[in-house]
């Protein structure tokens, strides 16, 4: 899988950045794959003595495994699948590889490939391992939340459409992983019903993410196709030139921002409910900490809204920042159909959560031996009890639609529907032009300012007398600098040290040989 996606990522291999992305991707995917294999190897081997097994899930399930080895297996699985899914700090490949790949591939990678990692993690932890230990869940929860926040913060400061979406994928994976951690916590605590709830939320969100992220990537692809531009600072006002793409992408943007009544909200709602149910846990410490963790999920969701306003507003609204955009090519029907069905998915998944949960219940039962019982009717989602919490998206939509129509026609009837078209108001500053709108960097600036600790910011501020002022601000991932660069440096240093061994003089080589011989002779006869 890694190899084929590597070749997909490097389709345009002429561009060095893309090659770099492909390399990074293959490297991390490979390291992750090795971890996974070790994990499966252990699962396979521990119970069986050591033989070349058949590596089927059945044999693995039968393996009797001690908690220590189970923990190793779990950590390997978390690392391996985490690397594939883009878990912080193994996420660095994702914002490079997703933008590098052609849009349909990005959509596929984001929508499907990241999910297979989640699938694997679930499979190993719940199905294949016979033991589950509660700190595993806490670890996954913590990492998940970190990933979610990290992802969304960086999404907010991106100025490239696809990079923004890639970072947003990291956020969503973080949320899913946090849900995974919570499921595990509930499960190890013997709270099967709650585990089922959380797991449902997890699966729901995973499906949702495939739809809205797919929609956004396809939409981005359409824009890219039409304009040849992915820097948001060169786009703008595309809703007017590409209405289909514009409106359909709006659905995706609203869904990913977690707004009711679309699907993103439904799964986040379920997840938040799960967070609020932790007081049932037997460990007092977790009891207290986990609702606070919910705050991070909430923060991530709110920031996601920020990101999406930025994304949609800068790309589709406002004035075109480049006069050529007026000629933006319209989309083909194939593209439209692709977007329509994804958008329809977003809407339907949002409106019929009860049905979705029904579909998911076999999976949930398989993994946790419990199903989520809906206390409400087909309209109303009430996972624990109707007393506890409920949400009815269809009613929600119906009321909003009714009020909108009522007010619209009411106002028209009672007053009038007259409209005059004028120039926008210039606030007393004449000669406004499209360049005066907020750029993508500008829109992200507050977030950058608040979360500057996580980033290394590179700025180029223009000279006041510059005739053609250019501003460039770039926010780099500090983890890259703090984690990966030191590792690379350490490897370089070590390799320099080792390199000294090989310094060309045959006498030295003979000395190595001699010393080895003497050493071994002393060693064996000691």
């Amino acid at each position: 899988m890694a190899l084929s996606s590597y070749f997909l990522v490097t389709t345009d291999h002429d561009i060095p950045d893309i090659r770099r992305a492909g390399f990074l991707y293959l490297l991390i995917a490979h390291v992750g794959a090795v971890a996974l294999l070790l994990c499966f190897g252990l699962l396979q081997g521990v119970g069986q003595g050591l033989a070349i097994g058949d590596y089927t899930f059945n044999t693995m399930r039968l393996a009797e495994i001690t908690p220590f080895w189970a923990s190793i297996v779990y950590l390997l699985a978390l690392f391996g699948f985490g690397a594939k899914a883009g878990l912080v700090p193994m996420h660095v490949w994702l914002p490079e590889a997703h933008p590098a790949a052609p849009s349909p591939v990005s959509a596929l990678m984001s929508g499907v490939m990241l999910k297979t990692a989640i699938y694997g993690l679930l499979r190993v932890t719940f199905d294949l391992l016979n033991v589950q230990i509660s700190w595993w869940g806490t670890l996954a929860l913590a990492l998940g939340l970190l990933t979610a926040l990290y992802g969304v913060i960086f999404a907010a400061v991106q100025s490239d459409m696809k990079r923004l979406l890639a970072w947003s994928s990291i956020e969503n994976i973080g949320v899913i992983l946090a849900a995974f951690g919570l499921t595990l916590i509930f499960y190890t605590d013997g709270k099967g019903a709650l585990a089922a709830l959380t797991l449902t939320a997890l699966l729901y969100h995973a499906i949702n993410h495939a739809f809205f992220k797919g929609l956004l990537f396809v939409g981005t692809g359409a824009v890219l196709h039409a304009t040849g531009e992915r820097r948001m600072g060169k786009l703008g006002g595309l809703l007017r030139f590409m209405p289909w793409t514009g409106w359909l992408t709006l659905v995706g943007a609203l869904a990913i921002a977690g707004l009711p009544p679309l699907n993103g909200f439904a799964s986040e709602w379920l997840l938040l409910q799960a967070f609020l149910l932790t007081p049932g846990l037997t460990q007092p410490y977790l009891n207290m900490v986990i609702p606070v963790a919910a705050a991070s999920v909430a923060l991530a969701a709110a920031l996601a809204a920020y990101v999406m306003v930025k994304f949609y507003g800068v790309v589709f609204l406002g004035q075109p920042r480049d006069p050529d955009l007026v000629h933006a090519r319209r989309t083909t029907w194939a593209e439209r159909l692709g977007m329509i069905w994804l958008a329809a998915g977003c809407v339907l998944l949002g409106l019929f959560p009860v049905q979705v949960i029904d579909w998911l219940s076999p999976v949930v039962r398989l993994l946790t031996n419990q199903t989520l019982v809906n206390d409400g009717n087909w309209l109303m989602l009430a996972p624990v009890s109707a007393e506890r919490a409920s949400y009815a998206p269809l009613i929600f939509l119906a009321v909003v639609a009714a009020i909108v129509l009522l007010v619209f026609f009411g106002v028209k009837r009672v007053y009038h529907g007259r409209v005059r078209r004028v120039d926008p108001w210039d606030c007393g500053y004449p000669e406004q032009d499209a360049r005066m709108q907020d750029s993508a960097e500008g829109f992200g600036q507050p977030i950058r300012q608040i979360f500057e600790v996580f980033m290394r910011v590179e700025r180029e501020t223009p000279d006041p007398f510059d005739r053609k002022p250019q501003y460039r601000g770039d926010s780099r991932d500090k983890l890259w600098l703090l984690l990966y660069v030191p590792i690379a440096r350490l490897a370089g240093w070590l390799s320099d040290q080792v390199g000294r061994l090989q310094h060309g003089r045959i006498q030295w080589y003979l000395i190595y040989s001699f010393a080895t011989l003497i050493f071994l002779l002393v060693f064996v006869t000691r």
Binding site: L254, L259, A295, Y306, V399, V422
Partner: protein, 314 residues
């Protein structure tokens, strides 16, 4: 059931009608406190009427999004008003959305407003949208924290159940709610574009947030937005009441308690509005980049409230 529906519609309509009044009252109080001669209490109604009568003025490039946003925002606020109990608790509509969904409703309205503000492509619109989202990304989780504290006490995220627990079960003092209350006040101030985060009367580009977003709106669109703003203030007040001083809200099916509930609402709103204007009058607007600090404090207070709940109340 049918009484329920009638009451539901009545309560929602009442909220829609009373909302500008609350706005007027706050403005009046503020004028008094600033030593100005106050506008009449009905000033907001007059303004709405005037705006509805005018011809809408739209920029050439305004899209449908721009034109429909006010309706959606207004509808969202009406929906919120239908969910938050003001005089009667546990109305048939309330299970459609719990507190988390309520936060979602506010978020939906806000996102539409922000998108609409960016639609024309003037520098002020985007500036306002950006600032609004900046304020909201902290306010929203803080609000959730406040709700979480309340729902941990009442074991539910349904507003009727929360109100029921707080108002109609035996009286208990919840220290966590004190923290939540302070946090909630700070959030309301921010969310309703009041001092010290925003100034509803300013049009200075350095300071304005909400006003910057609606600069391009006129006539009926502006009227709807203004009305929605009033409704937002009203629903926030009602939320505050429901969470922190719920006494007086009529339980379901108790029609006899209605007049008292209405009275209680009026009194609470009058006191609340006065308190809001007082606090506004004595505080100074903070710099924009202080706003995250302000809201961060609110967020922390919400989290603290929740922790205190675990320490003292479990």
């Amino acid at each position: 059931m049918s009484t329920g529906i009638v009451l539901q519609i009545a309560q929602t309509l009442l909220a829609i009608l009373l909302a500008p009044l609350l706005m007027g009252w706050v403005n009046q109080c503020r004028a008094w406190l600033q030593g100005r001669s106050a506008p009449p209490l009905t000033q907001p109604y007059r303004m709405l009427r005037k705006l509805f009568h005018k011809d809408a003025v739209l920029a050439h490039d305004a899209s449908r999004l721009f034109r429909f946003a006010p309706y959606i925002i207004f509808a969202c606020m009406v929906l919120a008003a239908g969910i938050v109990p003001t005089i009667v608790n546990d109305l048939p509509f309330s299970p459609a959305a719990d507190v988390i969904a309520l936060v979602g409703i506010y978020a939906l309205a806000r996102v539409f407003l922000a998108l609409a503000a960016m639609d024309i492509g003037t520098s002020f619109g985007t500036l306002g949208a950006r600032r609004e989202m900046l304020v909201s990304f902290l306010a929203e989780p803080a609000l959730l924290m406040v709700f979480f504290t309340a729902s941990l006490i009442s074991q539910s995220t349904e507003l009727p159940v929360i109100v029921q627990t707080l108002a109609h079960k035996e009286f208990a003092i919840y220290p966590s709610m004190a923290f939540a209350a302070v946090a909630f006040w700070m959030i309301s101030v921010a969310e309703n574009a009041r001092i010290p985060v925003d100034n509803p009367t300013t049009h200075l580009e350095l300071t304005m947030i909400h006003e910057a977003m609606i600069l391009e709106y006129s006539a009926r669109h502006l009227a709807l937005i203004e009305w929605a703003v009033a409704l937002k203030l009203f629903t926030y007040s009602a939320l505050g009441i429901a969470l922190f001083v719920p006494w007086g809200i009529a339980p379901r099916g108790d029609l006899g308690a209605l007049p008292l509930a209405l009275l209680a609402l009026l009194v609470k709103m009058i006191v609340g509005g006065a308190a809001l204007s007082l606090l506004e009058a004595i505080s100074a607007k903070v710099r924009l980049f202080r706003a995250p600090e302000f809201l961060g404090t609110a967020f922390l207070l919400g989290v603290l409230g929740m922790l205190i709940h675990f320490l003292l109340e479990v």
